[in-house]
Symmetry: C2
Subunit: 474 residues, 2 copies
């Protein structure tokens, strides 16, 4: 295991001074933030991962600024951590070794929407919700929809390979990135990929960069494939006695060849939290599915009816009759994170995937290990994909090591059930210690070697993905 890939020690004062001098010369003072009170806002993202205070934040306004910052980082040999909106859930944008933060949120232009070729070209700071709105106004659709859609940005979405509920039908970010403008440490620009949907020219470097968590390159322009906007959407909410009954309904749907765009699952503990927050789900309900189908209007109605039939084991099935009712059903789902937050002082949400038929088994195992350890938990997620967010809740710092044991047991159970450690949040800092549970040392070694091709000095976003690179924050 190479030490160059572990979190670097903070830069020396001499390296820092050199970097600051070079940054000022290349970018001028207006784009370089050095006031610690301002820099401190860039220490964390929306995870529990902790960063070190950067000595400078570059607010890039153009590709040239990205290139300049990456050139300075290499010349002064200081760590540099790219950051778009900083909404990540595993610490991908957290500057583990301080140094420079390269903020691209200011590069927020949608440069092109080509209706005929069905593609968009966006800068890395474009907020996902803005892209959704812009392409839907043109009759087009960009499916990925992480919960943070109104605040996350495309640069981070591509770096983390973001998902969301609609992935069940439409796939995740990787399915929509045709090509990228990518800047390497030192500032070199490469443009893997293409503007056409098909293409097999050389290795798929684009796919390698998608989901590489800012450790291989920093994105400039991103070329995204779009699809036609589905003209009709219908939303159903079904309540079940327990997760096992809900899983039977999901199996009925997939077995019947149905592909709803979303199948969201909430377990009994999540429903309990939502009841505590004022939602009036009936007491005997121990699981909820929120299902959405889309397509042509007639077809969508037929699908909704078939989904309803698949839910014949439900206590109750509600169908939203209009946009207002649809919004009401979703608002509960969106409020969930806040409702859960109210229950507890500390919360850690683990994003895992198991084969969808194994969801009840995984939840049984989580209940068993958490009960044994006395750890509170609740689970919701994307049942169609088997992608669950298992939340661990605690109130006192001294409980953290116990929670840590529950989390490690979760990961072991996920692997035993032939699942994977992360469905859409990435590995970042928080899951790096657990990578060897899923991947062999040979496969990890191969990835370290690929990292070294792009970044021999380990300066770009150090302390991420690889074991030894990070540690748990809780």
């Amino acid at each position: 295991m190479s030490s160059t890939l572990s979190a670097l020690p903070p830069p020396t004062a001499a390296a820092r001074d050199k970097a600051l001098r070079l940054l000022e010369r290349a970018l001028g003072p207006s784009k370089v933030v050095t006031d610690p009170d301002a820099c401190v806002a860039f220490v964390r993202d929306e995870s529990e991962a902790e960063g070190a205070l950067p000595f400078a934040v570059v607010r890039a306004e153009s590709s040239a600024d990205i290139m300049a910052a990456l050139a300075v980082a290499r010349e002064a040999q200081v760590p540099i951590t790219p950051r778009a909106a900083g909404t990540g859930r595993t610490g991908g944008a957290v500057p583990r070794s301080g140094g420079i933060v390269l903020a691209t949120l200011g590069m927020n232009q949608i440069k092109e929407i080509d209706r005929r070729e069905m593609l968009a070209v966006v800068e890395p700071g474009v907020v996902l919700g803005d892209l959704h709105g812009a392409v839907e106004a043109e009759g087009l659709f960009y499916p990925p929809d992480p919960n943070s859609a109104e605040s996350c940005a495309l640069g981070g979405n591509v770096a983390e390979n973001a998902g969301g509920p609609r992935a069940f039908k439409y796939g995740v970010t990787r399915e929509y990135v045709l090509g990228v403008e990518a800047f390497l440490i030192g500032g070199q620009r490469v443009t893997p990929g293409r503007r056409t949907v098909k293409g097999v020219t050389g290795y798929d470097v684009t796919a390698l960069l998608v989901g590489s968590e800012g450790t291989l390159a920093v994105f400039g322009d991103i070329t995204l494939r779009l699809v036609p906007k589905p003209p009709a959407v219908m939303t159903l909410l079904a309540l079940f006695s327990d997760v096992r009954a809900a899983s039977v309904a999901v199996a009925n749907m997939t077995g019947a060849g149905l592909v709803p765009r979303c199948i969201e699952l909430l377990d009994s503990h999540t429903l309990e939290a939502m009841r505590a927050a004022g939602n009036d789900f009936r007491q005997e309900a121990g699981a909820l599915l929120l299902i959405e189908v889309d397509g042509e209007p007639g077809e969508t109605e037929v699908q909704a009816e078939r989904v309803g039939n698949a839910c014949d084991g439900a206590l109750e099935v509600l169908v939203a009759q209009d946009a207002g009712q649809r919004e009401k059903l979703w608002s509960a789902r969106r409020e969930m994170s806040r409702a859960v937050r109210k229950l507890t002082r500390f919360k850690l949400s683990e994003d895992v995937v198991v084969p969808r038929e194994q969801i009840p088994e995984l939840l049984d195992r989580v209940a068993q290990s958490c009960d044994a350890l006395g750890v509170r938990h609740l689970t919701y997620g994307h049942a169609g994909d088997g992608n669950l967010h298992v939340n661990f809740l605690w109130d006192h710092e001294h409980e953290a090591p116990t929670v840590e044991r529950a989390i490690e047991q979760l990961f072991r159970d996920v692997i035993a059930l032939r699942g994977t450690l992360s469905g859409e949040h990435g590995i970042g800092v928080l899951k790096a210690p657990y990578l060897p549970l899923e991947q062999s040392s040979e496969l990890i070694g191969l990835q370290r070697d690929i990292k070294r091709v792009f970044d021999p000095g380990g300066l770009l976003n150090p302390g991420k993905i690889f074991p030894g690179a990070g540690h748990r924050a809780c």
Copy 2:
């Protein structure tokens, strides 16, 4: 540019003898073919690329055999070229430097079809058509459908990232590969990927291997995502006065949000060739579209009607009323390659992609340069994707350099129209000299460095993809 990535010189007699001794010891005589009369069958694939005679062909029957052969190649320092069915169109399976051919066509077991999780695990020698049949019997569907479906094998499909007509709706092989068992030079085994659809654990090494044309690793078991089999399919054939009118119809379809599973285009020269082979397309037709829609029965009929409306500029639209008529419409498309072959002694089919709106412009440019050079040509392909197969035809060897000029002009036009050099056939030997037309030296250098991570000695499938690695065979 590293010489290790160019086609290696043929192995020395000492290296060959060492390799043969080691192969015999590791695999026994029954799996190692050394008779030159038998080895000669492995010199070529279905392209015009020329290989050198291998001194041994390993007929692998198991993963252990693959590992053994790769270990021998490294120990004896001889080139080794993996090969599944050898149906490639750019020379990917051709042993450019002789050495060992590692044939995996004998590993042809479908090891698992999981209906509930909608996935299949196949060995690399499974013939694509056999997989189609097996999964469709279970109500499932594996969309990629290159023209060679009845003879090509999954190992090659994944290595080349195969496409086919249905890619317009369903995407290409890369969209269906969840994970692979991959063997590196030396025999080391890694298993990137997963059995779940979602997953962002580490770099996407699976995606890097898909389409890497056998230059990074050799595939063992391949885990493929499946989708529900569409219950209904309808096929339409529309005749137009020319390609421009057909392109308007394609634009009408995509503009209306329609996503047929295939939109196949035949140009006037192709129709002429088919008339010469006995098809009775009306004389005034200068372009043909073969369009297929699928889904639930009612929805499919609605789509077919809308496709018909989009073709309002057609001379004639035929709708297949049953499976027999459907088969008749497709048989003409499938016979095409044979019909074209009858016209000429030499034929080179170039697989290129342009933004779909640029198809008429590209064909105008091809006509212009070919007319100026006196080269015969015809084009068909996947109009929805802008993926065209431009065929150059000639009868005398002395015409080859002129054809070569026409081909280079095609590639320059493709790039000028913001397209890509290969949609589904790969770069292999034949297109390697042209890679710099599309990709910068920095991007090519990065890919060479990635190659070196996997195969420092350049022993695995040498002479492919990279410029200087191959040459045109015509």
